[in-house]
């Protein structure tokens, strides 16, 4: 098989480029502590919002808890077509761990200008953590089609 010289150089260059990219992705992933959702626990979407069954059954205004100064956890129930709670207020510099599940169809969550991006599935809990240093309003946007009201599904995170 006749392997042209320029072609060999191109192939080696291509592979080297991909290796560099892969290393960049891997190293930055560790350096910045990038996380993606991973198996947390399975739940039953038919009962997950029942009071007493899970934190998603607690009253809506008690689902964001301050664990320590500046450290919060937020249990947000996704349902057609709202995030509950749909407004969260924290002081600047807060770190929030978001727990989400759906009680009906598939939803998604992207928080503007952050790396918080997750699928929200019935039967699964998605968990991600982020720190909010800059004051402002961040939209919580549902990014997975969830029926005819999908575009009305959003919430607000207000960093004060």
């Amino acid at each position: 098989m006749n392997f042209h010289r320029s072609e060999r150089i191109f192939l080696i260059g291509s592979i080297a480029l991909l290796v560099v990219f892969a290393l960049a992705v891997g190293i930055s992933g560790f350096a910045y502590g990038i996380q993606v959702p991973q198996p947390e626990m399975r739940v039953d979407p038919r009962t997950v919002a029942t009071p007493g069954v899970s934190p998603f059954g607690d009253p809506v205004n008690e689902r964001v808890r301050e664990l320590a100064p500046g450290r919060y956890e937020a249990y947000i129930l996704a349902q057609m077509w709202a995030f509950l709670p749909n407004e969260i207020r924290v002081p600047a510099g807060s770190t929030i761990t978001f727990y989400l599940t759906s009680k009906d169809v598939q939803h998604g969550l992207k928080i503007e200008k952050t790396n918080i991006n997750m699928m929200v599935l019935p039967g699964q809990i998605s968990v991600l953590t982020a720190t909010f240093d800059k004051p402002g309003t961040y939209h919580l946007i549902c990014h997975e089609y969830c029926g005819v009201g999908h575009h009305t599904m959003f919430g607000r995170l207000i960093v004060e």
Binding site: E7, L121, H139, H151
Partner: protein, 544 residues
Amino acid sequence: MYAHENRLSGWNIGIALVALFLGGLFGPLQKLQYVGINLYPALNNLGIRTYYQGLTLHGVLNALVWTTFFIVGFFTFAIVRSLERELRYPRLNWAALIVMALGLVSAAVPLLLNRATVLYTFYPPLQADTFFYLGLTLVVVGSWLAGYGFLFTYTAWRKDNPGVRTPLIALGSLITMVMWQIATLGVAVEIIFLILPWSLGLVDTIDPQLARTFFWFFGHPLVYFWLLPAYVSWYGMLPKQAGGKLFSEPLARLVFWLFLALSVPVGLHHQYTDPGVPVGWKVLHGILTYALFIPSLLTAFTVIASLEIGGRNRGGTGLLGWVRALPWKDPSYAAQNLAMILFAFGGVSGLTNASYNLNLAVHNTSWVSGHFHLTLGSAVTLSFMGILYWLLPKLTNKQLFSTRVALWQAWTWFAGMLLMSNGLHILGLNFSMPRRTMIGAAQYVGADWNPMLIESAIGGIILGISGILFYTNVIGTVFSKKTLQAPIEMPVAEALDTEPSPAWLDTWKPWLAVTVALIVIAYGPVLFDLIRNINLTSPGFKVW
């Protein structure tokens, strides 16, 4: 000769063209809706009730129907000519067409009645009418039958031609169909074992995470099923149309084998943000996705080198002078070359999607729709249009209605896609604009989104104009009175190097073994675990 094959190609491509027309109509409407011009109420009388019903039709008809029918039609035409023998069992391929067409009707009725507004990914627990799922299954089964028809033809050819290298066009097409057989197992299992019993009411609940995982087992090789027929044309035909030769035939074969081996075990890179999939498997699929980029980079080199030979043969000189000497006045050539340029951008955004942590910035945002329209909407669809500029006259025995209109069509498609995709990419990256969303009615849209929304709407309108030009040519050609003066033959590129490629690039067993092994390694444990801990807790929802 080839009477059956020509009629089969004609029927398949005819159905594909109707699907692209109907599905394509919604594209400009979506982009106009983004900027507040909502034309959907006017469609109510025609039975289109919502934005999302139109969006489902756009996705199903363009991404699934146009592609599958065109590809089966194109391969029916190309494989027999490449092997220089007729279909072994034409009745099998006719049966395939009938099954696919029945499936299309079965899926189309609930779609048009707004009973299957679940988008083309049909993620459970959104629950469509049973006939929608049944229809999709039949389309897939029909495409399997067509694939068997090609394989029987190939084995008959092999029996008569022992030791002869399989011609490249036939080999690339057959590898694509075999890859499709393996890939569609994922969606077949999803529909037959999870969705149909649940949709029929035999079981009450489904596991959405498991269903998604089966879907993406199919979903990523699906995009290579769309792309590889364009590669067959770029490698096997376009160098001839450009007056050149195929620079490196053995490497072209290697590229197709690599796609067979690597297309499937990468599906989890669509599920980086899924909660129920362990991180280690996501990383493994991410690395394999990078490996899958190598055959596409090789393609860039070989195809450009082949076209350069053409440009220089046509009198082009200098470092880049050969580019201008290429046959830009030939719409079939121009459309496919422009498709390649857009694909280069699409490749960059695709590598971003596949890059584990960069994906968090863009997953499920309109960045992905932008990527999708540079790849499926441009590399694939504009190439298929380019192929049709010679194939349609061949099949109808009519002259192309207008070369000038065809050239305008290719360039307007190019310009429209650039504007629209650029807008969508930026909106997704900067503003987290979600994909597949009725943006014109969403309250979280900020004023700073407007420039890019307007840019993508202008792109959408230009694409609509391009579509009108395309169908003017299709209809004008089909109903033209001017028959062909000189016969058209399928362009077949000769290899630059006349030495036959090595035997290991023309043998199935080792490549199939590697393919199966990679799938078992990359998907075996993760699927085993999801099945063992199946979470059947979701009832169906019809919420559109």
